[in-house]
Amino acid sequence: MKDPFHKLSPLSRRLFLERCAASALGVTLAPSVGSLAHAAAATSVQGAATATPSGPGFGSAKRIIFIQLRGGMSHIDTFDPKSGPSKGPKGAISTKAGFQISEFLPNIAKVSDRICVIRSMSAKVGVHATATYLMRTGYEPRGTIRHPMLGAWGQHYLGPSHETLPSSVSVNHNSDNGNGFFPATYTPLPIIDPDAGLQYSVPYAGMKTVEERLSLVREVDAAFQQRFPDENIAAYNDFYDATVRLMKSTELRAFDLKHESEATKSAYGDSQLGRGCLLARRLVESGVRFVEVGNGGWDMHNNLSDAMESTGATFDRVYAALINDLQSRGMLDSTLVVVATEFGRKPEYTGSGRGHYPTVFSTVLAGAGIKRGFVHGASDAVGAKVEKDAVSIGELHATIGWAAGYPLDQVVTAPNGRPFSVGNKSKPVSGVFA
C-alpha cells in the first residue's frame, strides 16, 4: 500500500504519534532510538531515503537561529540598495566583503564578510498573515492541515536535541502551533518575554514544599493508578518527574539572562530583539536546536526613514552583535543564523514609505557551512524582479533543512493521509554552501 497510515486503526495512529512524541520539552519518554531509523519507522518513506545524503554543507548546522522580521523588510533599504529611481531615503555603503548594503546598516557592513545575502527571493503572497505562515512553514495555509515549522521537522527527523531542554523555542513570538501535524509536544516552547525566562518554572511555594506535596499526591493517587495501568497515566507520571527534574536542574540557567556579562548584554543592547537574540544564543549554546526570534515593526508603509532609524538601527546593532558573539565563541561554524521576513517592499517610494512586495526580496544566511561575504542571486536595476537565480521560500526551507541535516527526500505522511516534506519537495540552493 502506498500510504500505510491511511488505513491504520486509530490505535496504530496513536502509535505513530507516540513514536513521534518521543519527547516533550525535550524530555525523552521512550528509549532514544537512532534518529533516522526512528524517522523511517514512524513515517512512510517515499523515494530513495536509504542512502544518507551528502554534499557540501549537509548537516553543518547543529543549531539554528531563525530571525523573523515581521511586517516585510524593505530589501532596497537594507540588503539590496539601489541608486536609480527606486532609491530610498539613504544610499548605499560599501562593505569589506565587496558588496554594498544600505547606509542604514553600518554595523552589519562590518560583519559583511561573514554573511551570505540572498537577493533573489521570490514569492507570490503579499498578505501579512499568509506570508508569515509561508515563511515559517514553507507551505501556504490550507483549511485542512497545519504545517510544521522547521524546528518540529528537526525533532521528527533527528529526535530531541537535549535531555531536559526543549528542542525548539519561539522567542518574542507565539509559536502558532509550530508543531503542525506532529504531536503537540513538538510545539516550540514560547518565551514571550526574554527577561522573564521560562514561565512557571519557579515554584513560588518553594521546592521543598513542592516535593512534600508531591509525595502526598503519590499517596492519594496510588489506588487509582493501581486500578488503571494506563499508558496515558504513565506518561503523565513521567511528565511530573521530568518537570521536577527541570525545576531543580541547572539547565534552567539557559533561560536566565542574568548570567550574561554586562559587556555582552550591552553589545546586544536593551531592546526586545537584543534580549531575544541573546537568549537565543544562550539557548542554542545549551543544547536547544532551533530558536525562532520574532521582531515587529517592519511594515513601513509610512515614515520608512524614521522606522529604519529605530527598528532598522536596532536590528543592525543586534544582528552584528549576534554574529560577532557566535564568532568569538567559536560557534558560528556550527550555527546557522537566518534572517527571514514576510516579503519585500515596493520599488516605488510613495508618500513616505513602500507597499508590500513579494516578487523579489532579500534574506540573509550566515554561519554553518554557508559561504561568507557572498551574494546569491540578484534583482534587476530597480529591485522590481529577480534577475538571476530566483529562490523560492520552499527552496530556502530546503536549504536550511539541508544545512541542518534533515533527510529532505523523506516524505512524511500526516495523519490526514497527505504527504509533506521540508520545503515542499524543493531542492536546496547548493550555491550558498561553501
Binding site: 485542512t144 489506588a223 494506563d230 511528565f239
Partner: protein, 707 residues
C-alpha cells in the same frame, strides 16, 4: 421548502392504513425543531405497537417469531421474546415479510420508543460484539463514579460537593435517568456541546487573516442558539449549507465564510465532517486507494459553483478612491458587510488548469453530481431527483441530499462522532473516514446507531439520552488499549484524560462554584450594529452608518468590530448581566464564553484546546508546560486561594474530618477511604494546610482523568 416534508405525508397514509393515529407521524421538521426543547418533549409511550410482532420466514422455510425493531436499507433488526436481537437480510426473506417490513418502516420511524428499551437494544448489539471478541462487559459504575463521569460528559465540568451529595442522598428509584435528563437540559450542556462543535466546525473569533479578517460573533451565537433550543442536526446543517446574507446579520452564513475564498477546502471539510467521506486527496488528484476521483470532487464542488462569498458587486476600490473616508475606516466597516454568501446567476466552476485525466478538459465547466458509495445508492431516495443544474437551486439540492435521512453516511457520521465523544473512541475510526463501514469491528452497531439517529430525527440530545442510559455507558472504564491490541469491543468507555475545556471548566467550578455556568458572553450585538442592510452600499450609506454609530456613542468603543479587551481577552461588558470574576489576568468564565480559541498562552491551549484551524484537533496529550502550570501557574493559585469556593466551603467545616471529606468530594467526586482520611488527617496535624491539600488533589492523575 425542503422536500423532506414529502416523507411526512406518505407516512400519514401508511399510518391510517394500519389504523394508527396520525398524531404519531413525524411532524414537519422546521416547526418541530424550532419549538422542541427537552421540557416540551412529548411523553414517551410505554410500549411499542403490537403490529411490530411478526413471524419471519426465509426462503429455506426457517421461521422466527420476533418484534421488528428497525429497518435499515435491506436489513432489519428484530428481537425475539427472549430478548435476543437479530439482524436479517430482507432479500433472503419471503415476499410477504418484505412487504410487512416496508409497510412498518415509516411507523417504526414515527413511533417513540422508551429510552430504556432503546438503551437495551444498544447494549444487546454491543454485547454481540463483546461475545465475538470473547470479552465481558466491565462492571457497573458506582454512584459517585457515575455522577462525576456524567457531569463531565454532559455538563462539561465536575460536580460540586453539594451536587454530588444531593444526588447520593436521593433515595428515589430511577435517579440516574433523572440526572441524565437534568444535565441534558442544563446550561452546562450548552457550554460543553459548543466546545465540542467548535473543534469540529473550526469555530474561531476571526475568519480570514490579517486586514481581511472578519469577526464571527453572529455565527457563534447562532450556533449557541441551535444548541440551546436543541434544533435537530439535519436542520442545523441544512441551514449552514443554504444560508444567504452577511456576517453582520445572518448567523449560519458563517459556515461557508469560514473558508472564504477557499471553497474547495470548505467542501473537503464538509464531506469529511458531516459524511466521513475522505476526499482530501481528490481535491488535487484521484485518491490513491479509495475510489474517489478528482472528477468526483469537482462534481460535488459544482454545487457551490454559483455561490459567491466575495460580494463582487461592491466597488470597494472606488469607495476608497473617493477620498471622503480613509481606507482603514472603509475596510473596518465594510469588511464585515462584504463577508456574505449569495447565489450568482451562473455556475462558474471549471476543471482546474492542471486537470490531467482524460474524462474532462482543463477549464471545462463542471456539471454537479452527487458522490455515491455503492450501486445501491442509485435507488436511494436521497439521490432523487437528480440535479437539473439550475444555479439557483444547486446549494439547496446539495443540502437536501447531505442531510437526507437516507443519505448513506449523514446519520452514521454524527452518531459515530457522538459515540466517540462519550466512549473516547468511535465505533469506526477515524470518525472522518466512514467510506467503508465494514472496516468497523462492529458494523451492526454502527448501522444501529445510524438508524437510531434517524429514528430520533437527528435530535442529538435524545440520541445521547439513549446512549447515556445504556449499561455500556454506565460500565467501568477500560485503560487505553495497547497499540497492537485487537479492536476495542466497548466493554465500557475508555479511561480518558479530561479535554482542555473539561479541565478548565472544572477548575472554575472549584474556584467560583456551579455559578460558573451562568456567565454568558454576548458579542453578536457588536457586529450587528455594523450591519448596513442594503444590497450595494454607497459612500452615502457608509457615512450614514458611521454617523449613527457615533450617535449611539458606540463609534469609539465598537471600534468597528476590532477587539478592545486587554491582551486580546474578552471584555467584562461583553457579558450578559453580571460579568465573571477575574483572577490574575484570567477571566473566570467557561471555555465556551471566552475568545475562540483561547490565545496560545492560555491554560486551555496548553492543555490541548484546538487551534480551530484544522477540524478535530483537540488534543489530550500531556507535556511539561502543563505540569508547570498545574504546579506553579495562576490556575492553581486561584483554586488554592482563600477566596475560592472550595476553600470557603471547606472553612465552614465543623471538623478536620469533614474538611478532608469536603475536599475529596469537590476534587475527586468521592469520599476518602478510611486509610486516606486517617493519613490526610495526620498530615493536617503535622502542619499540612488546606491549600496544600487543594494543590495535592489538583495535581493527582485521578483529578484530570475521567473514569
Amino acid at each position: 421548502m425542503r422536500p423532506h416534508s414529502r416523507s411526512a405525508a406518505s407516512c400519514l397514509a401508511v399510518l391510517s392504513l394500519l389504523g394508527l393515529p396520525a398524531a404519531a407521524a413525524k411532524p414537519d421538521r422546521k416547526t418541530a425543531a424550532a419549538k422542541q426543547t427537552p421540557a416540551e418533549k412529548p411523553a414517551l409511550q410505554p410500549t411499542r405497537p403490537k403490529d411490530a410482532w411478526h413471524v419471519w420466514s426465509d426462503a429455506a422455510g426457517r421461521k422466527i417469531n420476533a418484534e421488528l425493531l428497525s429497518v435499515d436499507g435491506v436489513h432489519i433488526t428484530v428481537r425475539t421474546e427472549t430478548g435476543e436481537t437479530h439482524r436479517l437480510n430482507l432479500t433472503k426473506l419471503v415476499p410477504a415479510d418484505k412487504a410487512f417490513a416496508k409497510a412498518a418502516a415509516p411507523i417504526l420511524a414515527a413511533t417513540p420508543v422508551p429510552v430504556e428499551q432503546s438503551a437495551a437494544r444498544l447494549d444487546a448489539l454491543v454485547g454481540a460484539g463483546l461475545t465475538k471478541a470473547g470479552v465481558q462487559r466491565n462492571g457497573p459504575l458506582s454512584e459517585d463514579q457515575f455522577v462525576r463521569r456524567l457531569y463531565l460528559d454532559v455538563a462539561g465540568r465536575i460536580p460540586t460537593a453539594a451536587e454530588l451529595t444531593g444526588y447520593l442522598a436521593d433515595r428515589t428509584p430511577g435517579k440516574r435517568g433523572k440526572l441524565i435528563d437534568t444535565l441534558l437540559a442544563s446550561d452546562g450542556y450548552n457550554s460543553q456541546f459548543f466546545d465540542w462543535l467548535s473543534d469540529m466546525l473550526r469555530l474561531k473569533d476571526e475568519f480570514g487573516m490579517g486586514g481581511k479578517a472578519v469577526k464571527s460573533y453572529v455565527y457563534q451565537e447562532w450556533v449557541k442558539e441551535q444548541i440551546a433550543s436543541n434544533r435537530h442536526w439535519d436542520t442545523i446543517v441544512y441551514e449552514m449549507m443554504t444560508a444567504e446574507g452577511r456576517m453582520t446579520s445572518t448567523g449560519p452564513v458563517g459556515y461557508l465564510l469560514r473558508d472564504r475564498g477557499m471553497p474547495l477546502d470548505n467542501l473537503s471539510n464538509t464531506l469529511t465532517t458531516f459524511l466521513g467521506a475522505n476526499v482530501a486527496c481528490a481535491q488535487c488528484h484521484d485518491h490513491p486507494m479509495a475510489h474517489w476521483t478528482q472528477r468526483n470532487f469537482f462534481e460535488m464542488a459544482a454545487f457551490f459553483g454559483a455561490t459567491d462569498q466575495s460580494y463582487e458587486k461592491a466597488n470597494l476600490r472606488s469607495l476608497q478612491k473617493s477620498g471622503v473616508l480613509d481606507k482603514q475606516t472603509i475596510l473596518r466597516l465594510m469588511g464585515p458587510n462584504l463577508a456574505r454568501v449569495e447565489t450568482l446567476p451562473a455556475n462558474k466552476l471549471v476543471f482546474p488548469q492542471d486537470y490531467k485525466y482524460d474524462d474532462a478538459k482543463p477549464g471545462a465547466p463542471v456539471a454537479p453530481k452527487m458522490i455515491t458509495w455503492s450501486k445501491e445508492d442509485a435507488k436511494n431516495p436521497a439521490y432523487t431527483p437528480a440535479s437539473t443544474g439550475d444555479p439557483a437551486k444547486l446549494r439547496d439540492q446539495f443540502a437536501v441530499w447531505l442531510t437526507h435521512p437516507e443519505n448513506p453516511r449523514f446519520a452514521a457520521a454524527i452518531a459515530n462522532r457522538l459515540w466517540k465523544k462519550l466512549f473516547g473512541l468511535g465505533v469506526q475510526e477515524p470518525v472522518s473516514d466512514l467510506d467503508d463501514p465494514k472496516q468497523s469491528f462492529n458494523p451492526e452497531l454502527l448501522a444501529h446507531l445510524a438508524s437510531e439517529m434517524k429514528r430520533v430525527h437527528f435530535d442529538l440530545r435524545e440520541f445521547q439520552r439513549i446512549v447515556l442510559n445504556s449499561k455500556t455507558y454506565q460500565a467501568q472504564a477500560s485503560p487505553t488499549p495497547k497499540a497492537d491490541a485487537s479492536p476495542y469491543a466497548f466493554p465500557g468507555p475508555l479511561l480518558r484524560r479530561m479535554t482542555a475545556d473539561q479541565i478548565w471548566d472544572s477548575v472554575l467550578t472549584l474556584t467560583v462554584g456551579a455559578e460558573v455556568d451562568k456567565f454568558k458572553l454576548r458579542r453578536a450585538g457588536e457586529m450587528r450594529k455594523l450591519d448596513i442592510p442594503v444590497d450595494n452600499p454607497t459612500e452615502k450609506d457608509i457615512v450614514a452608518k458611521l454617523a449613527s454609530l457615533k450617535e449611539e456613542g458606540e463609534g469609539k468603543r465598537v471600534r468597528f468590530g476590532k477587539k478592545g479587551g486587554k491582551g486580546g481577552d474578552v471584555r467584562s461588558d461583553e457579558f450578559e448581566g453580571e460579568p465573571p470574576p477575574r483572577f490574575e489576568g484570567l477571566t473566570l468564565a467557561r471555555a465556551s464564553e471566552l475568545t475562540q480559541p483561547a490565545k496560545e498562552s492560555h491554560f486551555l491551549r496548553n492543555f490541548g484546546q484546538s487551534d480551530r484551524d484544522v477540524a478535530d484537533s483537540n488534543s489530550t496529550e500531556g507535556g511539561v508546560p502543563q505540569v508547570l502550570l498545574m504546579m506553579n501557574g495562576e490556575v492553581q493559585k486561584a483554586v488554592t486561594s482563600p477566596t475560592s469556593t472550595v476553600m470557603k466551603e471547606a472553612a465552614k467545616s465543623s471538623s478536620p474530618e469533614e474538611q478532608v471529606r469536603h475536599f475529596y468530594l469537590s476534587f475527586l467526586g468521592r469520599t476518602p477511604s478510611e486509610a486516606e482520611a486517617a493519613s490526610t488527617r495526620s498530615m493536617l496535624d503535622k502542619g499540612l494546610k488546606a491549600k496544600d491539600l487543594c494543590w495535592v488533589l489538583l495535581n493527582t492523575r485521578e483529578f484530570i482523568f475521567v473514569q
